[in-house]
């Protein structure tokens, strides 16, 4: 008979290398899909408008470079983690927090950043003489989309500097919760952002005359859609600053985990529905430019009301942390 009960040393190694690979695999998968989407669109656009080939290629290269941001950030962390020797089980287990904080946002943001590139390249084939401004709008929107990855990076940096102090299960769970909160919290807003920027890049292709208004509306709406990510980042940073005694039981760790799950899942619906609201507004703006004022205002008020749900979960998560501990 073979003994299949894993020893503690095996588990330590498993979690160490598991988290290292999870970061790269997840963000690489998302970035690869996003780049695939945009390259596919580039070939279709060249097929439709062969004369615009130089502009389309130039835009494609820049788009791919920005989509790659999350992969590069994850690569930095993979290298940092790879050269860290796992010392004990708990700190190795807590590395999963870094994997969640970088891997999940890397995956969703990689795909989400590909969608505006897809629509922008298609728009260039529609309006070849307007390619410069379409490209500028695409670069701005894509860079604003990267915000969750930067927050994930920040949280993982803070987790990384605390790995050496982890001595018990509660502390390890706390660090995992910190990563889980920003990781899961990025999913819903990323879906919303991807769909909205797709529609807004399409809208510039439909009606180039109101480029200025669409661009400012896009930036404002993106900022509003991203608000739930900021709330989960605040909860994440808050959890990562909690001090847990070496002698404490597992309970504080579970409270942190609960707060992280509340906040993470709470951003799901606000992010998605806020993005879809703004997407239909920007589509209407492209067809009825004279109604810009009323459409934009209605969309922003609705998005503000939708974000209130994220504020409720934020309050619940905060009270879990403050009262529960």
């Amino acid at each position: 008979m073979m003994n299949i009960t894993p020893s503690l040393a095996t588990l330590t190694t498993l979690f160490h290398y598991g988290s290292v690979t999870l970061i790269t695999v997840l963000s690489g998968l998302g970035v690869g899909l996003g780049q695939g989407i945009s390259s596919y669109s580039a070939f279709k656009s060249i097929d439709r408008q062969p004369a615009a080939q130089p502009e389309i290629s130039k835009t494609l290269v820049l788009a791919l470079a920005i989509i790659e941001t999350s992969a590069i950030i994850s690569l930095i962390f993979t290298m940092i983690l790879f050269f860290r020797t796992p010392t004990d089980f708990y700190s190795s287990f807590a590395q999963l927090g870094i994997a969640l904080a970088l891997g999940i946002p890397g995956f969703v943001i990689g795909i989400a950043a590909g969608l505006p590139a897809y629509a922008a390249l298609k728009s260039i084939s529609r309006q070849p003489f307007f390619s410069r401004k379409i490209m500028n709008a695409m670069l701005l929107t894509q860079s604003v989309i990267q915000t969750p990855v930067i927050f994930g990076f920040l949280v993982s940096m803070i987790i990384f500097y605390q790995l050496g102090n982890v001595v018990n299960m509660a502390d390890a769970l706390r660090l995992i919760a910190s990563g889980l909160c920003i990781g899961v919290g990025a999913i819903g807003p990323a879906i919303g952002l991807g769909w909205f920027t797709y529609k807004s890049a399409q809208a510039i292709g439909i009606n180039k005359d109101i480029y200025g208004q669409i661009l400012s509306f896009t930036l404002i709406s993106q900022a509003i859609i991203e608000t739930p990510v900021i709330f989960s980042a605040i909860i994440s940073l808050w959890i990562s600053r909690i001090a847990i005694l070496p002698t404490s039981s597992i309970m504080p760790g579970i409270v942190c985990l609960a707060a992280a799950i509340v906040m993470g899942i709470g951003t799901f619906a606000p992010g998605i529905s806020s993005g879809f609201t703004a997407a239909s507004a920007v589509n209407q703006i492209a067809y009825k430019p004279n109604l810009y004022g009323i459409l934009a205002k209605t969309s922003m008020i609705t998005q503000g009301l939708i974000d209130t749900c994220a504020i409720y979960t934020f309050i619940i998560a905060l009270s879990l942390i403050i009262i529960g501990l």
């Binding site: 950030i73 930095i76 940092i80 701005l140 860079s143 604003v144 915000t147 930067i150 927050f151 990076f153 920040l154 940096m157 803070i158 500097y161 605390q162 790995l163 050496g164 102090n165 200025g212 208004q213 400012s216 930036l219 404002i220 900022a223 991203e226 608000t227 900021i230 709330f231 980042a233 605040i234 600053r241 810009y292 004022g293 009323i294 934009a296 205002k297 922003m300 008020i301 503000g304 974000d307 209130t308 504020i311 309050i315």
Partner: protein
Amino acid sequence: MGGLDLFAHDMWYPLSFLGFTHQFFGLNSGTIINTWIVLAALTLVSLIARYFLYYPGSIGGYLVKNIIISFQDLITQSLGKFVYKYFAFITSLFVFIISCNWIGVLPLVEEPTKDLNTTLALGIMSFLYIQKEAIFKHGPINYIKDFFEPIFLMLPLNILGELATIVSISFRLFGNIFGGSIIMSIFEQAIGDSWIWNTVTTISGINIIIMVFFVLFEGFLQAFVFSILSLTNLTMAVYEEPGEHLI
């Protein structure tokens, strides 16, 4: 391990002789010095811009005028008309934040916006200004009445929604600039003292590319987002009649 605390600041307690040694009364000396450096740089830039404006045909004068005109257009587009005090407020917010974000390119100087206190102060300032404008525009009674819309029970939610704008606007700026500066410092550490890496990255332009993206581009973008969000909140607060050309 565990040595570097990312939130550590050099603290200075000016009121300690009175017994106020709580963290609340401390000042982050590094942030204050950096902010003064930003203000000095801004003064220098505005003096240079003023010098250019005396020569109507110069390239510098053309650039300065173009920047001002683009801001005028932004205000006119958003508010439907040009209001000088709003233009002055939004433009100075933008100019101050962008110089705070870009001052990190100078050696030994760090971005003041890397500190949460600066961004929170900016957010609270913009919030208070907007509330003041709303009160002056609609009168105190209408202003308070707005909080009871659409029904009485919505009062706490409306107040929370207003306060949440401060949090979201200031944490957005803080998180992006802080993340960018950490990426830059990791890059510097990775190059380290090795002269081979220093030469290779300098000659190939990797240094410049990383700095342009994470400091200049990101800094510009976040400053723009901050000021345009303040402008939108302002527009929502001071609009006159529903259905008019608002945004």
